[in-house]
């Protein structure tokens, strides 16, 4: 399987990270259904009560079970970054491939447009979007996807240009394949390792930025469960001596982000190694296999 071969080269740290990501994904899917207590119903008798019995992490500022809220909150905490990454990758890939394929004027216009977009930090764009469209996860996700797009496009444009110069592309053109079909069936699939690596790293950024926006009160709206919201609403507990609710939500974010960073870094190294191989003079496949065999 493709995924398996991608993961094999990432080492132990990469495997552990992949396992953490898998666990977080499963939690995001089933979390709201398996949470043992209601994540939203307040119970003011239990405000700031520490861990007791089946309530392993105690209660938050409104007397809700922290563990249930963490489990239910995984959904919006993971779904938001997924939307951001999907949007940024789709937009960025299309723009990068168009710039690399058309070159000339189209490339110049796209590249200077990207330079201008770089002037908008993601969080600022998200705050602007909240001012215009009102606070919410959708506006923030769209804003972040637009803010991340230039980073994707810049990296992929370089790779697409390299791919564009390969002899097989010229051969396909001579055979009469259309530009769309060459791009969709050959160039983009060949850049897939780089796209996956970029998406993985970006997921970590998106998670941090979206949680920050929810922390500011401009993203997911309470009482809906979300890790960023949990930190902001339980912040008073830090000063009052009940740090567990805010800390446990922070730990969830940090853990998942570390996993995405580590895995993304490893995948990036792999993809770049593959890219540099492209630049070297073409060697027939049989010879390469022979060399690999010798090297082993």
């Amino acid at each position: 399987m493709r995924t398996a071969s991608l993961l094999r080269g990432t080492g132990v740290a990469g495997m552990i990270s992949a396992a953490v990501i898998l666990a977080a994904t499963i939690l995001a899917i089933i979390g709201p259904f398996v949470a043992p207590y209601s994540p939203v119903l307040p119970n003011l008798n239990m405000t700031w009560v520490g861990p007791v019995g089946a309530h392993l992490l105690g209660f938050d500022f409104a007397g809700r079970d922290v563990l249930s809220r963490l489990m239910a909150g995984a959904q919006s905490s993971m779904l938001g970054p997924l939307a951001v990454v999907a949007g940024a990758m789709a937009l960025g890939t299309v723009i990068a491939v168009v710039a690399a394929w058309r070159q000339g004027l189209a490339d110049t216009v796209i590249s200077s447009g990207l330079d201008i977009l770089f002037a908008f930090p993601g969080i600022l764009l998200a705050v602007l979007a909240a001012a215009v469209f009102g606070a919410g996860l959708t506006a923030a996700s769209v804003a972040l996807a637009i803010a991340y797009m230039p980073y994707v496009a810049r990296v992929l444009r370089g790779a697409a240009l390299k791919e564009r110069g390969q002899p097989y592309v010229a051969a396909l053109e001579v055979q009469g394949s259309s530009a769309t079909s060459i791009c969709l069936r050959h160039i983009v699939p060949n850049m897939l390792p780089l796209i996956v690596a970029q998406a993985t790293i970006m997921f970590g950024w998106a998670m941090v930025d979206l949680a920050a926006i929810s922390f500011l009160g401009l993203g997911v709206q309470p009482p809906a469960p979300n890790w960023g919201v949990m930190i902001s609403e339980n912040q008073p507990g830090i000063l009052q001596g009940y740090p567990l609710p805010a800390l446990s939500a922070g730990l969830c974010i940090v853990g998942v982000v570390i996993a995405f960073n580590v895995l993304g870094e490893r995948l990036f190294q792999q993809a770049q190694a593959q890219q540099t191989r492209l630049q070297q003079p073409q060697v027939p496949q049989a010879q390469v296999r022979q060399r690999q065999a010798v090297a082993r």
Binding site: F120, P121, A130, L218, G228
Partner: protein, 305 residues
Amino acid sequence: MLLASLLIASFVIFGALYLAPGNPISALSGGRALPASAMHVLEQRYHLNQPFLTQYWYWLDNALHGNLGLSITLQENVSSVIGARIWTTAGLVLYAALIILVIGIGSGIFAALRPGLADTSVLVSTAVSAAVPSFVAAIVLVLVFSVKLGWFPALGNGAGFWSSVQHFTLPAVALAFSSIAIVSRVTRAAVREEFDREHVQTAISRGIPSRLLVRRHILRNAAIPIATVSGITVASLIAVAAVVETAFSLNGLGAYLVQAAESKDLAVVQGISLVLVAAFVLINALVDVLYAVLDPRVSLGSRAQ
């Protein structure tokens, strides 16, 4: 290029908020119905009856003369609100930048020159700190250093220089925390790469003392990627400062931007966004200049890749 990005950025900021749903007059009147004559006066005063581009021109012209309009919630000039708060944000970002440069570059060089345990521990701790968002760093710092140890105050700006430094220390560390890791990693990689270069190996074999070797042969060349990444990370702090200011109740620009976005005080959102984007673009331009100073081969005007 610099002017073009600023101009387009200002256009985007104005245009986005122009498109905001809701009638500006009802925002001004707080939703009350107004007599037609009052509506007319307001339309005249805010040029609301003019076409979009004319309105943009009025706004830009005023902004360039330091007049950013009136805050609806505070009934105060946006420029004086910005003037009163800008030093909080600037001080916070500069303090954080200092921390990033000293600890980030320091630990990077340290890790690069001492392979083994030191290197590994720097690598592991940067992998963790890179993943800690500023607001998580904020709650942990407050918990440890103000609640448990009582060394620093948890909230507020402070008055006087020494008290301000105390009040700003935890926010600056929270703001710097994840960026330290980025600068440290790039520094380590750059120094490693220079160390393996021929001229450095020659210098080692000629017996040049290591202090001189590091300063004159390694850092001189490694300075270019280090300066680039430092500039980019420091520029990115400008936006993240909003999060830290909110977490520590500092009355800076970012915290006010967030409040204004919540209350739809559009003149304030426009004004502060414009200032923040301008600062962001200026720092990036400064990095390009610095790049040319550090590397005589780069002529000004050609962009750093």
